[in-house]
């Protein structure tokens, strides 16, 4: 078995293992072990990747494998990773691992819950290892569909509505996406020859200009919906608010990244001319996203809504930076994906813990949690500081790379957008500090909360895993940044060539 397919196989084996367990206790142990193995494998992959690169392998993707599974349309199970995919796999395995521990106490239908959760995770892993568009899409759908069940069954509040809304909007995105993918497929051999879904093969040909212009919006918006691109972001607040903790973590932490990843790996890489020409439209939308999400977060009362809007702002930053189409900005975009994935997962984990204790998410009903549950409160402050871009935590690295990169764009329009986007860091500080001030500091508002317990050991595992990752990236970003930067070369080269045309 090759090293990459294991990332799909291990979750499936875990699911099979879970099928043989009974009750919550066995189930969660199997899930934790499975995802622990997954995490170790991700680190192993990272080292193997470095070793491979150090050995002088300069291929765009390493560990490539391809098996045709549907010959008549030349659909392959083609896998391979570059530095970006490795980074995303690492992110995913960390978030999933933490997610398992934050749902340690899922009382109803634990088996089904963990199965759906891990199924979702395997979809995400599969997405990141695929280099065949169709297989990629398949895994993408595999990741989206369990979400409906997870929110609809284990959610809270207006869960049916939210689950339906989320699924329908994402499916709408998928519909655009499949159109775009087929468009790519049927134009993958403009000079004759066999049609292909393989990204690397398609990247070699130059797709006719009018075709690019036609299909780019489909692909970009299709992935953008998942990446919470304004104005297709409204599934995010409702969906997050209703989703159970681990699902929010996984969804905001990883699934939303699929959107950004797809945007550059598929839409921009394969259709560079169109990306150069139509980029400005989306740049305006993302600039709006950034500022709008940040302001939207200020006026919210519900913790999850605050975080959902903040995700809109941060994910807007990802696509914003991608559209700057230079290496530094795109490097920043991917760092931002990882950084946001970690910190938003931490946020949702913490919100879940707080909600599990106080049974409210309204910040005005709580207060002074710092004294009652110091561990959780400190973790919340750390997450908040990461979110507002404090140096030494991952957010700073990502945001600064984005800003410096975006500023490399000489054009006045891009610069103005950059400055507007920069201003979001102030607004971010406002809403983070507002929550921290109301929720954690101040006197204890509700006397019943005085006796609430602090974090349990499994919650601590979940928090510490994420905090360690955030700090690790924040303190020593160079290896990650360089790994991503180097892998961006083919994409940026294509985009630059398109700009000259």
């Amino acid at each position: 078995m090759d090293i990459l397919s294991l990332f799909v196989v291990v979750p499936i084996l875990t699911i099979v293992g879970i099928l043989f367990t009974k009750g919550l206790k066995g189930t969660r142990v199997v899930a934790a072990v499975g995802m622990g193995v997954q995490l170790l494998m991700a680190f192993n992959l990272l080292f193997r990747y470095f070793a491979e690169r150090r050995a002088g392998n300069t291929a765009e993707m390493v560990f490539q494998k391809a098996y045709t599974w549907f010959p008549s349309f030349n659909i392959q199970y083609a896998i391979g990773v570059d530095g970006i995919a490795v980074a995303m796999i690492l992110l995913t395995s960390i978030v999933v691992f933490a997610g398992i521990f934050s749902s340690w106490k899922t009382e109803d239908l634990p088996r089904e819950f963990f199965i759906s959760l891990i199924l979702l995770a395997s979809g995400v892993f599969g997405f990141f290892i695929s280099i065949d568009l169709f297989t990629m899409f398949l895994f993408y759908e595999l990741a989206v569909i369990p979400m409906y069940l997870l929110i609809g069954l284990w959610g809270s509040g207006n869960k049916e509505y939210s689950a339906m809304k989320l699924t329908l909007m994402l499916m709408g995105g998928s519909a655009l996406l499949i159109l775009g993918l087929l468009g790519l497929y049927f134009n993958s051999a403009p000079n004759g020859g066999e049609l292909t879904f393989n990204i690397l093969e398609i990247a070699k040909v130059s797709i006719p200009h009018n075709v690019q212009m036609f299909f780019f919006p489909f692909l970009f918006v299709g992935f953008g919906v998942l990446g919470a691109l304004f104005p297709f972001h409204t599934w995010s607040p409702d969906g997050h608010a209703s989703a159970p903790t681990a699902v929010s973590m996984l969804h905001a932490g990883v699934l939303m990244k699929l959107g950004g990843y797809g945007c550059f790996r598929v839409a921009m890489y394969l259709l560079p001319d169109a990306a150069q020409q139509m980029g400005w439209i989306f740049l305006i939308l993302t600039t709006i996203s950034i500022v709008y999400g940040a302001f939207g977060a200020i006026a919210q009362k519900d913790l999850k809504y605050i975080n959902a809007y903040s995700s809109v702002s941060h994910c807007g930053m990802v696509i914003f930076a991608l559209l700057m189409m230079n290496k530094t900005a795109m490097d920043g975009a991917i760092l931002q994906m990882i950084s946001h994935g970690l910190m938003t997962a931490l946020f949702f984990a913490l919100i879940g813990m707080i909600y599990g204790r106080t049974h409210t998410r309204n910040i005005y009903e709580m207060g002074g949690l710092m004294r009652i549950m110091p561990f959780i409160a400190v973790a919340y402050v750390i997450a908040g500081l990461a979110s507002l871009g404090l140096p030494g935590l991952s957010g700073f690295v990502a945001e600064m790379t984005i800003f410096v990169g975006s500023f490399q764009h000489q054009d006045v329009f891009h610069r103005v957008c950059t400055i507007l986007a920069c201003s979001a860091i102030v607004v971010t500080a406002v809403y983070i500090l507002r929550v921290v001030g109301i929720l954690l500091f101040g006197p204890v508002r509700n006397k019943e909360f005085e006796t609430l317990p602090d974090a349990r050991w499994y919650e601590k595992i979940s928090m510490v895993t994420l905090i360690l990752a955030i700090v690790a990236i924040g303190v020593a970003p160079l290896w990650l940044s360089d790994m991503i930067r180097e892998s961006l070369t083919p994409i940026v080269t294509k985009l630059t060539a398109a700009a000259i045309n």
């Binding site: 201003s423 500090l433 500091f441 160079l478």
Partner: protein, 641 residues
Amino acid sequence: MDWTYTLAIILLPLATFLTIGLLDKSMPNKLAGVLGTASIGTAFLLSCYTAYQYFFVHGMVDGAYQKIVAFNMEWLRFTDTLHIDLGVILDPISVMMLMVVTTVSLMVHIYSNGYMHGERGFNKFFSFLSLFSFSMLGLVVATNLFQMYIFWELVGVSSFLLIGYYYEKPSAVAASKKAFITTRFADLGFLIGILLLSWYTGTFDFTELTQTTAIGGLAMAMPMGTSFLGLSIVSWALILIFMGGAGKSAMFPLHIWLPDAMEGPTPVSALIHAATMVVAGVYLVARLFPIYAIAAPDALTVVMWVGAISSLFAAIIACTQYDIKRVLAFSTMSQIGYMMLALGVSQYSEGSNLGFTASMFHLTTHAMFKALLFLGAGSIIHAVHSNSMLDMGGLRKYMPITFVTFGIAWLAICGFPGLSGFFSKDEILVAAMQHNTPVFIIAVIVAGLTAFYMSRLFFSVFFGKNTHYHHTPHESPKTMTIPLMILAFFAVFAGYIPFNEFVTSTGEPFHSHFHWNVAIPVTLIAFIGMGIAFVLYYKESEIPTKVTKALSWVYTTIFHKFYIDEIYLFVTKKILFGIVARFIAWFDRHVIDATMNGFAIVTNYVSVSIKGLQSGQIQKYGLIFLSGAIFFALVFIYLFV
């Protein structure tokens, strides 16, 4: 010569922060205090050693003190030329700042052992203090703009954490929030400034940026082209960078956070909001001084006027405040304005760079006497359990050591001849006089006002009415009085350090002599200010009340700090967060989300309305089928045949 040991100065507090912070409750309070103090003490000794090595052993090369990069490490790469390094730079101003920061920090650490005794978050306090020391030292030794920005943010956050130390007090939480957000807003300017400057010059590195050529120009090509509102790009970049500095240094109009920041424990106010962090803005301008002076004189003019206005503005407000710490806070703002002003009137060229040296000189002496004032105030508050000057009076009898040390600091800040403040203030005034008359006049007025409000504070606290106290105030413990005495020593003698020998903008020493023609009149003005205060406040009298009554609306306006806070609050709370944010939240739910829901509703509606056709009744199907068949039969038979 190997300078890598300087790294330890910065890393020691970091290690302390991590140790105390992670162990937190499992560490005895005493140990935490000792550990924190010991580590900063070691850093202090190392700084002394570094200063000695730098100034006396290494000495001058080519007649000037050179910049030494003691350590540099690539931390994050943006492009081929732009990368963030973390390193240690040694030059006169950074060595000077190392000394200032470690000295004050050490004093504050010792003092806090007594002041914070028995607080619940004692360990937390010490870990935050170490975090702050680490960040501030990192800022001081930054080799490049971005490293400075990094530590700039870190000092901001440590300031936030320390102001909000009493996190259960809503006013402290609000103050910490305000401080952070205001400085964050200023940092936005700083960041954009960095982006602009680095884009045109292609580097963040201070050494490269401020490298000068033999003929007195900059080695680096600066974007001098006019860009916007008649100022060159580099001017704009530097004005934006200065905006960051103004935010941290509480310059008008970004000063609003500083008075509120006094909610923090008093040692914090002494360390962060008097001696070190707030002068970061001055230090930043000093760091980039060659660019300001050579490439962007417009920006330097901005610095000068902002400094002058701030110093006057704050001095006026300070005259009306009753909270002892707030008076000191406004005084800090006023004195930092002085330093900015001094930088603003300086030039890079030889002979006219007195302002730069004066500014750095004043920075040092001010750090000493202002830290002393704050620590003294802390001692008083510790004894009286109140911040308000109205609750104090006649304290000289109860707290002799505090009285004496506070008195020394008072005389120093008023510019009493022979004490440190006298010398540094004099240099600033001379520099201002040589350069710009209106600014000089403002500076003189501020000197008089300073003498007045400080004397007002001093007299009404230690003399004045004999207040009746619930608990008889008593002198503070040794841990608190010893730092006071040490700082008093510095406050007296720091003025005798020959700054012009060591710290100059070019690195080359110059000769300066004392200007009696400025010193004498200004000292007289200061005496007048002290005299008025003596008359009004030495004994309890009715005159102050009468004066305030006579100037009622002027007084109220000043007392409310010219309503600047209210204007800010209106713009941010009411307009931005109230109207704009709410509107966006509403818009999102009711327009955008409603549109998305609208699609769903329309789909639903369509499906409901065509559902009737699918009635499940075979006869209806039959009828429709038949009608369809007839229709097509008609069409095919009579239209196409």
